[in-house]
């Protein structure tokens, strides 16, 4: 076997180096060349990746803590974002619904508003749509006349206008809603809960209920209306039918309206005078979306707790990575010595270990974000909500993982960098 250099390198005896090589050698000792940077950072990542791949199980276990923590945090944020998106969908994009009523009368039933209330409110310019319901006092709804009157099931009878669903954002689950024609006849549309209470889940031509002493034909069943739960527990008849058959007298008890979103406050302030100029102090105005929002906020109170648990998991994971990196520095003393002997500077060796720590935490972060996003999607699918994963939350999860990696990697990196090369190589 020949130990000499290949023909191409042999040329200039005795040194055997081309002039270019010699020039490079001479210049070499003066200063570390700057053009290393780009190639080296790529090499750091590649080298770190190769090293981690060579120790797959250890890599996976080291990532696990960070992955669990990030997954928990991302899932919690994703699920609460999905719930929020669902709520916004329920509120109808802007949550600009207002309700007006006159409080309760002595017997606990809703007090009537003046006949002028609804048309007057409709004239307030920022009001986009308005609809009224009227409580029919003393009316009960039963499946048949044979059911005792006391078993009313808590179903109230409300007179409603054809525009009710448009204003409330409700929809019909079966059959149709009241229209100008059916509003005049003994026809009734049942709220979701009322239909359930009566045991009616479909609409047939012969479906009837016994309402205030006579039979009404059921023409439709509503889907739940989250903004106005009182509609769910009501049987709705038309105002003309309520007047002629039930003696309502046309007085509304509750008015629902939607206004231009940024004009909500001014509209709300004029509503009492508009609805009942004679007794404005008796009028109550409320914003159902704020009630729903408060309820949703209460539901997400656990978010903070789970985020805290996620943070603890990330912290423990970070400590685990730091621990593994310290062990790695001890195990790889020879490699550290070798790299120093090959010309690696202290900072390059330190950076190598920092990069590995970052890769570990980054892998954990990516895995955690993926698991968290998958959990969000699964939860949203199960709950029938839209799956929403804010990119900012994903980015924050990854960012936290990377910061953890830096914090966990600094001490081992400094140890690796400070290891004297001769000592690192000695005894091997």
């Amino acid at each position: 076997m020949s130990a000499g250099p290949p023909a191409s390198q042999r040329g200039a005896a005795p040194a055997g180096l081309t002039s270019e090589e010699r020039a490079r050698r001479e210049g070499g000792a003066s200063k570390a060349p700057r053009r290393r940077a780009g190639s080296l950072s790529a090499e750091l990542v590649l080298g770190g990746w190769r090293g981690l791949r060579a120790r797959k199980l250890r890599t996976a276990l080291s990532c696990l803590g960070v992955a669990i923590g990030i997954a928990a945090a991302v899932a919690v944020l994703g699920i609460s974002a999905s719930s929020r998106a669902n709520l916004i969908a329920e509120l109808g994009a802007e949550g600009n619904l207002l309700t007006v009523n006159a409080g309760q009368s002595f017997d606990g039933s809703p007090a009537p508003l003046p006949l002028t209330a609804e048309p007057m409110i409709a004239r307030i310019p920022p009001v986009e749509s308005v609809t009224a319901t009227g409580y029919v006092a003393g009316a009960t709804v039963r499946r048949t006349a044979a059911v005792p009157a006391v078993d009313s099931g808590g179903i109230s009878v409300l007179a409603a206008q054809p525009g009710l669903l448009a204003t409330l954002g409700g929809r019909v689950a079966a059959g149709t809603f009241l229209n100008a024609a059916t509003a005049r006849y003994p026809a009734v549309v049942l709220g979701a809960v009322a239909a359930q209470t009566l045991g009616i889940d479909q609409v047939a031509p012969a479906t009837q209920v016994y309402l205030a002493g006579r039979y009404f034909t059921v023409i439709g069943i509503l889907a739940p209306v989250p903004l106005a739960p009182e509609i769910d527990e009501a049987a709705l008849v038309g105002f003309p039918a309520a007047d002629s058959l039930l003696g309502l007298g046309g007085h509304p008890t509750e008015i629902y309206l939607r206004a231009v979103p940024d004009q909500m406050q001014p509209v709300a302030s004029v509503l009492p005078f508009t609805a009942n100029p004679a007794q404005p102090e008796a009028v109550q105005v409320s914003l159902p979306s704020s009630i729903l929002a408060a309820r949703a906020a209460a539901r997400t109170a656990f978010t903070g707790l789970f985020l805290g648990l996620g943070a603890v998991a990330v912290l423990v994971g970070g400590v685990g990575i730091g621990n593994i990196m310290v062990i790695s520095v001890l195990e790889r003393r020879a490699e550290i010595g070798l790299r120093r002997a090959l010309g690696g500077t202290r900072s390059q060796v330190g950076l190598q270990f920092l990069t590995e720590s970052l890769l570990l935490s980054g892998l954990g972060g990516v895995a955690g974000a993926a698991i968290g996003a998958a959990a969000t999607a699964g939860y949203a699918a199960a709950a029938g909500q839209p799956a929403v994963m804010p990119p900012a939350d994903l980015a924050a999860g990854l960012g936290v993982a990377l910061v953890t990696g830096v914090l966990a990697g600094v001490y081992p990196a400094v140890r690796a960098a400070r290891l004297p090369p001769a000592e690192a190589l000695r005894g091997w």
């Binding site: 020949s2 080296l40 090369p421």
Partner: protein
């Protein structure tokens, strides 16, 4: 001939009670294309001498010049650059990275010179060819015999055409046949102008060199040409 390595009056003392004097005023010059064996009993300071010559350890006193340049004044980055460009190391334990194949291990020797990956790879393949391992490029250390591993390590040391190769017991872990190949490779480096300093217990290694430096208790007690 230019001296590649000039060690002048170097003293190296390790703290302890009593302090251990590893090198006691050593002076040594190694010239271009010169091949020197450093012999001596364990604890005589051979390895320390090699570490000081390789700038892996700064001497307590005295001067170390590599290629005519005093290294005591250099920063860590500058010292590292000297190692990357002017020096090559061969170890008894090979020190190959298990998860890298032969080419990657050799290319690692050029990493800190800042050469682009393709150039490093080409130089690594050429160096492996030169040590007779052109057919083992993609093999990992675990798939190579001891002799082959040390040849990969030599390829790594010489891939960048250093001025000085420092070898610490390069045949210590090898049988005599594999050791002989390593000796021939190291001895052949001089044809390239590369100086070689080998710390060894192996008389066969010493016999293949031009010069024999014998150490004891941190001093050079003999420095003579090897009779041919």
């Amino acid at each position: 001939m230019n001296p590649v390595l000039e060690i002048t009056d170097v003293v190296m003392t390790y703290p302890g009670s009593p302090p251990v004097t590893a090198l006691a005023a050593i002076t040594l010059q190694v010239h271009e294309a010169e091949r020197a064996a450093v012999l001596g009993p364990s604890g005589s300071g051979k390895s320390t001498l090699l570490h000081v010559a390789g700038t892996l350890e700064r001497p307590g006193r005295g001067s170390v010049r590599i290629g005519g340049r005093e290294v005591a004044a250099l920063s860590d980055a500058e010292l590292s650059a000297v190692r990357a460009r002017r020096l090559g190391f061969v170890f008894q334990q090979f020190h190959l990275l298990d998860h890298l194949d032969a080419v990657q291990n050799v290319a690692l020797g050029l990493l800190y010179r800042g050469e682009p990956a393709r150039a490093r790879r080409a130089a690594a393949v050429a160096a492996l060819d030169r040590v007779g391992l052109g057919h083992r490029l993609g093999h990992r250390p675990a798939q190579l015999s001891g002799g082959e591993r040390q040849r990969v390590a030599i390829a790594r040391a010489v891939a960048g055409h250093p001025e000085l190769v420092l070898a610490d017991e390069p045949t210590g872990n090898l049988d005599s046949a594999a050791g002989q190949q390593i000796i021939e490779l190291l001895a052949g480096l001089a044809a390239d102008g590369t100086a070689v300093v080998v710390v060894t217990h192996d008389p066969a290694v010493a016999a293949a060199m031009d010069r024999r430096v014998v150490m004891q208790d941190g001093r050079i007690i003999a420095d003579e040409a090897v009779p041919r």
